[in-house]
Symmetry: C2
Subunit: 430 residues, 2 copies
């Protein structure tokens, strides 16, 4: 009996502990049934623990519409950069994993609502990768493609589709690399693949289209704002991060409110006073010099300072340290006093910055004596800047500047909204 | 004129940009006025930018009550372990920093409300350090002191006062080290020093006392739940983290609701069904074997796998990697393919576990092919366990077990509530 079930079968499996319903996937481990639950999670059930297994149906292979996009007349134009990620993928019931859609166009053909809002002029496809595989050279590729499209008159704005895992890093990189920005640059995503009923692609793309036509000439992440399917937030690229492994409203603003709320009917409510306005007379350019020899590390109790020495020996040019509290690492009282290694690395020419491992709030080196000593040693305390944004900014700053004092000045200068001097109480856990 | 101002003076300083009022502190940098604002933040103002400076008053040195605690009759008894941190400190207007209170007792003398709730039997003081300076040997010290106090009949429970920066790491360590727990173990803190009007010490200590007398025999962090001063949460030690650099309600539950809500009048509302109940017949013991040769690292785009090779070369025994999304790092598509280094480290005997850098949500290695490949290589995917808890648990597990299969089993076994199989929607950004 059990041997007859096939990948794609809808099954009901009972063990002593539970009853599981879902679609059977191909499992690489022959001792395990791999099941896709309706929630989208895949779980493995050891065959030896199965008391009963019933086939209740069969999943039809999803059908994909032809990737022919018929532009509607009279709509404003945008262009799209498609880079991979779940939004460009479909579920493969054979392996239980996801596969790329055959052509980047298909994701938009699967979202007909988008085509009622905008005319898609071009779809550029510099590469197709999962976002955990991005590296700074991919950011540079995207920035150069974006500049080309933003300087074309026919585009009111652009949408970049991208995997979620490192979307906020790419978004921050574009914020620094795109100089003299003239139009909206929207990054969007899906947490559930585009062919599935619970996909977030449709709403995210529609809201992205409205944002791309708006007056907000900023780099923004647009996506689900809540568990509901009726509105999105536009978040400033340098002030947000992925906060949940699987929720559709995973991107959250940190130390700032969203720039705007975008409803499914296109209504845009501005929530932040500070943003650059659209200016079609401007010509955007790409400033992509980037120092890749940088790293991001986290301090924790028991952390050995050998990691600083390692990066110094490897001739790294800069480090972001996720410090505890108001900006602390182990000092004299500790078994692991980081101060001598930090001093020596800075003396050798390395730039060392602190950002908050709490994410929310602001560093303050003045409260405790060791903080002041670290500052004296040359550590740059990055206020309320996110560690991930700080990592991206550090690479970009070091790509442009070798002088220590100028590096410090640039790191502390608000270039792309990465600092917020007035953090409202409401922003905590927003 | 300007030269006459002294540390302790209340001043009003005007620059072109702003007017700042606060208390002048001693500044290590002679070109800067260091000001303590009413909000508690210290800021530096360059003297060259000052347009006017007015002295409007003088701050009186805070007076500290004698550290004589007169126990009230008929109250239930607890004991306290005082380890340092802001809760044990007072503001020093001369340096602008904080200093330890003269004696650990003073913090409790400054919180008379506590003494109406419980009789303090003993105050143990194994050391006084800022919590960023803690290391695993301090956790072991605290665990041994806790065991002694918990096995004394006269104590209904214990309170541990501690700095905030790494409080959640210590709390997690005690959760694994205290075996056969019989009574409540409460860790508490202050974000504002005990001598200040806005201090959180008083409410945190009262609520901690109520929690220490409760039926919940768990290791818990108790502290402000909101911006208001009227109730606290008790959070499971393995499921929370410091989420804000300075807010008093900085500790938040992750992937779980709080265990309980504790009102200032002592009313306790249980929010979680699962906890161990008080059992005074049990005898608690300390199981403190800990492998210190472990590390916690974070993956990010552009991260070089040389860091894995470094820890392997240094003969580290285990690594927690904060992976992106559902549990990803760069693989074949990436400029930096981490897979070969991870495989080689695991083959050399190192334990490598993944935890979520989003903090919220659960890993799932089954969704994408590289996840399954990493799992095949031996990476342990730690579900919804916090990376910081995972780091602590890894050291504790490796202190006890050398066999790879048993290490995996223990890492995935729910020992101290570090896993939650049913994460409610409400827990996100709670």
């Amino acid at each position: 009996m059990k041997k007859e079930v096939k990948a794609g079968d809808i099954v009901e499996i009972k063990t002593d502990k539970e009853t599981v319903k879902g679609t059977l996937l191909e499992s690489y481990d022959p001792s395990v049934y791999l099941i896709k639950l309706d929630s989208g999670y895949n779980i493995g059930i050891e065959k030896s623990k199965v008391k009963s297994l019933k086939v209740t149906g069969k999943t039809k292979a999803a059908e994909f519409p032809e990737a022919v996009i018929k532009p509607k007349k009279g709509l404003p134009g945008i262009s799209i950069i498609s880079t991979g990620g779940t939004i460009s993928s479909r579920l493969d019931y054979k392996t239980g994993g996801v596969k790329w859609l055959m052509k980047p166009e298909q994701v938009f053909a699967l979202s007909p609502k988008l085509l009622d809002i905008v005319k898609i002029n071009k779809i550029e496809n510099p590469f197709m990768i999962a976002s955990e595989n991005m590296s700074p050279e991919n950011w540079i590729d995207i920035a150069k493609t974006a500049v080309k499209l933003l300087n074309e008159k026919e585009n009111e704005g652009i949408i970049i589709t991208h995997g979620t895992d490192t979307l906020h890093y790419t978004a921050a990189a574009l914020s620094f690399m795109l100089q003299n920005l003239n139009k909206p640059v929207i990054l969007t995503y899906a947490q559930r693949s585009t062919d599935r009923g619970s996909t977030d692609t449709v709403l995210n793309l529609s809201c992205s289209a409205y944002a791309a036509l708006s007056n907000i000439a900023e780099v923004m992440i647009v996506g689900h704002a809540s568990i509901n399917d009726n509105f999105c937030y536009a978040l400033r690229a340098t002030k947000c991060r992925k906060m949940h492994t699987s929720r559709r409203d995973t991107f959250r603003p940190i130390n700032e409110l969203p720039l705007a709320k975008i409803e499914e009917n296109g209504k845009i409510e501005i929530l932040s006073k500070e943003f650059n306005s659209r200016n079609d007379k401007k010509k955007v350019s790409a400033d992509t010099e980037f120092e890749e020899k940088i790293a991001l590390i986290k301090y924790y109790p028991g952390a050995n300072f050998d990691i600083i020495d390692f990066y110094k020996d490897q001739k790294y040019k800069g480090l972001i340290i996720e410090a505890t509290g108001l900006g602390h690492v182990g000092t004299e009282e500790s078994k692991f006093n980081w101060l001598p290694s930090i001093k020596s690395a800075i003396e050798s020419g390395m730039t060392i910055c602190f950002a908050a491992q709490t994410f929310y709030g602001r560093l303050d080196p003045y409260v405790y004596a060791p903080g002041r000593e670290l500052q004296k040693a040359g550590v740059i305390f990055l206020e309320d800047m996110l560690p991930e944004t700080a990592y991206v900014k550090l690479g970009w700053v070091l790509g442009h500047e070798k002088n220590n004092e100028k590096i410090r000045e640039l790191m502390l200068k608000n270039i792309a909204g990465e600092f917020n001097s007035q953090i409202s109480e409401k922003t905590f856990l927003f």
